[in-house]
């Protein structure tokens, strides 16, 4: 292969095809770079920055998921700068939302030597659970804003465009058009958003009810409703 790219990752030589990301290049050497938001089937946006690596001669750390390997790059995936950023990011995230149903993130916390109590007194994002349809519940107190649900609802998969973002900055949240309940949106209840959620913020209604201790009959009674008539989108309410 003549257009092969040769670079150095943690002192080892990597040979990769053009267009390979640093994350993929490291994987070829058996190095697993931790990540939070990255998913093989959604567009990588470099949000969580947990996959940052130090590339010599670059001013700032580079997100491995969206940084293309280039000839001669010298990459350090576990330098002190990288460790500080990873640990601090996990500590800040843990102070923001409920990660109790995100075992992978808890494992990353352990691996990064992150202190779960690093930011006492931090304002948490803790909105009330939204239970507005028979198919799934939304508990955004667990949402880490990885964007996967919004992406699969839009052009990464379903083209449904039922959900997007409310607010901005720390107070960003996933929301519907004018906060409409899900049955009044374009949602087709395909379930893809639930499938890609990494933290249990989105959960099938039956799973949710069974966790609450309901017996199967009671669960069925709450989730097998007759077909609901849906309001056409965009029809203003009376008044």
């Amino acid at each position: 292969m003549s257009d092969e790219i040769v670079l150095t990752i943690d002192g080892r030589e990597a040979r990769v095809a053009p267009g390979t990301s640093l994350m993929q290049a490291a994987r070829q050497l058996g190095l697993e770079i931790p990540t939070i938001c990255y998913h093989d089937h959604t567009t990588a946006n470099g949000l969580c920055r947990q996959c940052v690596v130090e590339v010599e001669k670059m001013r700032v750390l580079a997100p491995a998921c969206v940084t293309a390997a280039a000839a001669g790059m010298v990459v350090h995936t576990d330098s002190p700068r990288v460790q500080r950023a990873r640990r601090t990011l996990l500590e800040m995230l843990n102070a923001s939302v409920d990660l109790s149903e995100a075992p992978e993130l808890q494992e990353q916390m352990r691996a990064a030597n992150a202190d779960p109590q690093r930011f006492p007194g931090a304002e948490r994002r803790a909105p009330a659970l939204i239970d507005d349809n028979p198919m799934y519940v939304r508990d955004y107190a667990k949402c880490i804003l990885c964007w996967r649900c919004v992406q699969v609802c839009a052009a990464d998969a379903q083209y449904t465009f039922a959900i997007n973002f409310d607010g901005r900055g720390y107070h960003t949240q996933i929301g519907t058009f004018f906060d409409r309940p899900m049955p009044e949106t374009t949602c087709v209840f395909c379930g893809q958003c639930v499938g890609v959620c990494p933290t249990g913020a989105l959960k099938g209604k039956r799973e949710f009810l069974m966790e609450q201790g309901l017996d199967p009959q009671a669960v069925l009674a709450q989730t097998r409703r007759g077909r609901k008539r849906r309001l056409p989108v965009g029809v203003p309410e009376e008044g």
Partner: protein
Amino acid sequence: MPSSEISQRQITTFIAPFDGCGRESLLPALLAAQRRFAHIPEAVAVRIAHALGVPLVEVHGVIEFYSLLTTQPTGRTVVRVCTSPACSMAGAHETLRAALKTLHVKEGQLSSDGRFSVERAPCLGLCEHAPAMLVGERPVAQAHASRIGTILKGGGARPRGRVFGHTRWLTDRCGVVDPASLREFRAREGFKGLQRALSLTPQQVIAEVKAAGLIGKGGAAFPTGVKWEGAANASGAPKYIVCNGDESEPGTFKDRVLMEEDPFSIVEAMIIAGYAVGATRGIWYIRGEYPRALAAARTAVAAARRAKYLGPNVQGKGFEFELEVRSGAGAYVCGEETALFEAVEGKRGLPRIKPPFPTTFGVFGKPTVINNVETLCTVPVILRLGVEKYRSLGTPGSPGTKLFCVSGDVARPGLYELPFGATLRELLFDHAGGMAGGRALQAVLMGGAAGAFATTEKLDVRLTFEDMKTAGLPLGSGVVMVFDERRDMRHVLVELGEFFAEESCGKCYPCQIGTQRQLEVLQRVAHGSPMRGDAERLQDVGWTMTDASICGLGQTAASAVLSAMRLWPALFELQSQAA
């Protein structure tokens, strides 16, 4: 007006001009709706979505992102009180309280007659007139609490030019000509730079800009000629010239002054850039909180079009250049070039991952040159004076002149045009009249909220890119905000922290969460009750934002805080003796 009072007929009339315009008209449509209905009712958002072919929920996401767009009714006149440091030091919080009390409202609430609502605003770019406010689209200077009754009745001081300095290359026309008059512009060297450019080949124009050593004056200090060359060599059409007039860095007001008082020079510069780069489209993006600059720009563009400086055949020279003025909608982050492109495209203003860079993949995915207002205004000067004359001022590394935005505790706040290489001491004491009230200097914030503090030992640093870099200070956008001995720097820091927490777009985790965690620690520090380990927390949060954020906002959100920690470490420590 309340949603219930809006008829379908009113909405139909409103929506007609936008029908079929496409997503790029989303921000203009939403801004027009906000102006027409004092908020964006759900029924209007639905019609906008259908007219422009944008998914409903994405329209909602865009409304939610920008601070000038609301889903809840505002007063017919929104009173915006600037509470960033320069105004805060001059009494903005007293002004805010007085406004709320006079109108018997809380922040964001409507007055009983629906006429007014009151909000605090991030820096309005009127720092030389502090405390400042916007009443609807009317800027008010020296808006002290005692004057609030007069101001709300339509009175109050109008901001008048405070432009100083004895070498007026960029500001020669400011305050002298009628900014709406093409004739007066031309009478004072206007379009001479363009004339000269058109006598050269596009390649020669770029060569002159490079030879002049022009460096971007918006904060990032990138060589302008290199940027132009990159876009000129890129393939793709049409190419775009974007003027970044989204000036929002707290303490910065230079671009506002240029846009309000000499708008034709920006038109001239953009035409030159278009000719040099082979771009046929121009977008002049101005922050939504600059109503006077927006009006001046629109007037100038219309006049230039009538005079055939814009259009399919500029001055009969056989090249095309069209120019459109676009308003921002309230988002500091849109000063970041790729976030600005997203806003123009009708999206939430989130910075993109780079590369690709704007020169190859800019607005609408086309090759784009995006330059700051002051940078662009320098281009006609270079072409008119010639490279040799231009380089006769300044230093080899920083030729020409620079605009400095001086605010805070100085005798004569204002916009100062000085040759690069003057010292900070000369700027403050020879030009700006020294400290107000003769008090002692404590610190100067250089480069804005995203900058760093300097103390008296840095007064003899020369104001050039290279000297400032050696001294570990950013020149940034030319902010020089002065604090005297009385000021509690912890309160200044908390205001900067509030600013970044409010303005973070929320895309990448370091900035989204870090600006909030930083604010929380700074609040404890300001209350004099830091927790054990807060200094280390600030360092970890600060360096993580600096090192791992996606764009310049996050990468500099801790810059001033980290510089304060170096200068005044005791401020951040537990004061165990205090109790």
